[in-house]
Structure formats: C-alpha cells, structure tokens
Subunit: 224 residues, 2 copies
C-alpha cells in the first residue's frame, strides 16, 4: 500500500515568528494542510501519517476544526530529532508498504514528482528527489581555504524520499548519527544504493520568510 509519512517537526525558530512554520496560513490554509492535500490529490486512497511534536498536536487539532479539514490522516508524536520522528512514524508502516517520507513544509510538491517517486521506489527499492545546482559552488578545504568545485558533480536533495517499507524500516534500526541529514543517508548507511528522480526548483522547503513569500505567491496563483 502507498503511504506518505509527513514530518512536521520544526519549531519555527528561523522564521522570526511564534507560529511553527507548518501552521502558518498561506493561500487560505496552513502550510501543512497544503502538503497533505498534494498527496491526497495524487491518490485519495493513500494512507497519510503526520508526525508532529507533542506540544503541537493540540494546536493541530484546533486547526483541523477551524479549517474544517476533512482529509483523513494518522497523527503521530515526534521525537527529539528528525531521525527519531521518522522512526516513530515508521512504526505505522508495514514491510510491504511503499512509503514516501516528505517534509511538512514542502507544500509545492507536484503530482508528477509524487507519482514518479512511488513508481521508481516500487521498482528499485527507493527514489530520492533531486535537482541540479544552478549556481557555482566552492569547497571549503582543510586549511580553511576554499576552491572551485564542479557543480555538475552534485545534486541538491529534496523530498519525497520514497522507499519500500522493509528497506527503510530496517535502515532505521540503526543508532542515530551525525551523517544522517535525510532519509537517503540513513538508507545508504544500511547498504542501499540510492536512485535519484528529478525534482523541481519550485518544490522548496519553507525555512525562511523569503521561502514563505515565494510559496504564498505561488499558491495564491494556483488557487485563483
């Protein structure tokens, strides 16, 4: 069965705002509801798991009532770190599921990306969304100096990162470590070869006020 595990753990410290960023309203709905809607549009029968920090669950339940939000989902309590939050969510995923792990604050994900992600993960075990770098990059070397690096050698990683249930559940049985910046790095650490699919520049993770401005203008254009 297709499952999406939406991780909405951020506390909003970087947003200069008291409201956690997944709860900020843009184009008439909190960010997290836009994200959930994107997956529900992809397939109404998809199983949706939302991982939230414990102290945000009451806020979320109130928002659900206030916005009369009717898309069915399971709400799971997050952990101290993103790793722990995903691990908690994976307890609701079975070995035979295919699970897309997605940031709660990436509401602009397209149906094409979601669809390719499930298709490739079903075939190959995993599918990780990535885009090329459009700017030059430089590498900081050990001396503290920096040198030009070839941007064509790198990809920026987005979500969804989608996996066969058995593979990702096994991968998350390891202890947390600092190398784990996303789910692909956890799967890779367990020995999986990672498959990239094409993301989109518009599929931003909302972490700054500028990202919010961008997402707002984009969603308002779509909704109108």
């Amino acid at each position: 069965m297709e499952v999406v595990l939406i991780v909405a753990g951020g506390s909003g410290k970087r947003m200069q705002s008291e409201t956690p960023k997944q709860f900020i309203e843009i184009a008439g709905l909190p960010v997290l509801m836009h994200t959930i809607k994107a997956f529900a549009w992809y397939a109404s029968e998809i199983r949706i798991i939302v991982v939230l920090p414990e102290n945000h669950i009451t806020i979320w339940q109130k928002l659900i009532r206030d916005f009369n939000f009717t898309i069915n989902h399971t709400c799971v309590k997050g952990g101290e770190t993103r790793f722990q939050s995903v691990k908690n969510g994976l307890e609701y995923v079975t070995d035979t599921d295919v699970v897309a792990i997605h940031d709660g604050v990436r509401p602009l994900v397209s149906l094409n990306i979601i669809s390719a992600s499930f298709r490739v993960a079903s075939e190959k075990g995993n599918a990780v969304t990535a885009i090329p770098l459009k700017d030059s990059i430089r590498e900081i070397i050990e001396s503290g100096e920096n040198i030009a690096a070839d941007r064509n050698r790198f990809r920026i990683i987005q979500t969804p990162q989608t996996f066969q249930g058995e593979i990702i559940k096994k991968a998350y049985e390891t202890d947390e470590n600092q190398l784990f910046t996303d789910d692909a790095s956890v799967a890779e650490f367990s020995g999986e070869k990672i498959y990239l699919i094409e993301g989109a520049p518009v599929n931003v993770k909302i972490t700054t006020p500028e990202d919010l401005t961008f997402a707002r203008s984009f969603l308002e254009k779509i909704e109108n």
Copy 2:
C-alpha cells in the same frame, strides 16, 4: 575608484518569455534597472558599467527613455560568452579601481553585501559572495552512482564578486576554459586565493519564472 560591472548577457531562453529576463518589468521597473539602482543607492559616485548583448542595446536605450531612467552608466557590448562579456567590460576598468562584477538579474542584492564586498576586496584583493547550502546534497561519482556529501563543506556562490582592478584584469588575460563558471574561478586559475563574504538567500539570480515570482513579490513589498 569603486566600479560595478553589471553583466546582463542572458537571452531569456529559460524564461518561457520573449523578453530577455533583465528587461522584464517587476515592481514598476525592468529587472536591470533595479540592479543598477541597488549599486547607485550604495554610493551615488560609483562608476557603473553595464555589459549587454549587441542586439539588446537598442531595446535598452528605448527602456531608458520609456522609464525616464536617469542613473548614469556606460553601456558596453558583450561577447559570445559570459567570460568574453566580462573581459569586454574590464577594458573600462583601471588597475587602481576596485570592481564589483555582478549579475544583471540579481536585483535583490543588499547594501550590506555591496559594502562588505568592496571593503574586503580593497583589503585582501578579492571578495566573493557565498551562502551555505540549506539542503542535503549528493555527489555523482564516476560509476554514475551517487553518494551522500557533507553540505557543510560547500558554499553556493553568488555575486557581487569584487576584485582589485589589476588582479582581475590580469586574470582575464588567460584563454577561456570550461572550468570558468564565474569570476572567482578565473581569478583562482591565475593564482589568487579567494576570500568569501556572507551573501543572502534573498539575493537570487533570476533564471526561472519561479525566481521572477519571488523577486516580484519581494520588490513589491519593499517599494510599497
């Protein structure tokens, strides 16, 4: 003397639009005029050189009349490539100038960045604007497979990239080569050690319709 060399060479192929992107109007002015204004605000006595493709110069002159744009600048004919365009512009720069080389389609550059850029370049020979990566990255290795890379080791490079005149003019005496993706890589190739200064996520290069949406909403907020 402080000089800014604004490179406006793009043909707009990626913009799904007939208008070259530096000429698209946002918040009441063509993008390129916003960029020029940013540097004129920094210092009214700065010398401004704008490099444009030959076939855009007539359009630009008409825009100057239409928008009654009065900021003084020298218009220089660009070359086949960005490298050649910068080289053409550098003919109007002297060895004792300090020159900020800046993308015509980065209108959101801040006064702080411009100011730091000239200050550091005056002291150290160069100053290259850079920001951290906020997303995970993966590296494509020779087999075509990909592996996790440590994003903390890399910086995304923006403009301005600012240099003492003598240094950058000498660096540009070399033949063009594929490694040259920006001015820092040209200077580095000539033996210069590169100094990074802190850029800003908002200082985007407008290359896609999404970038344009972002810049528009941002500039409209500032201008109002």
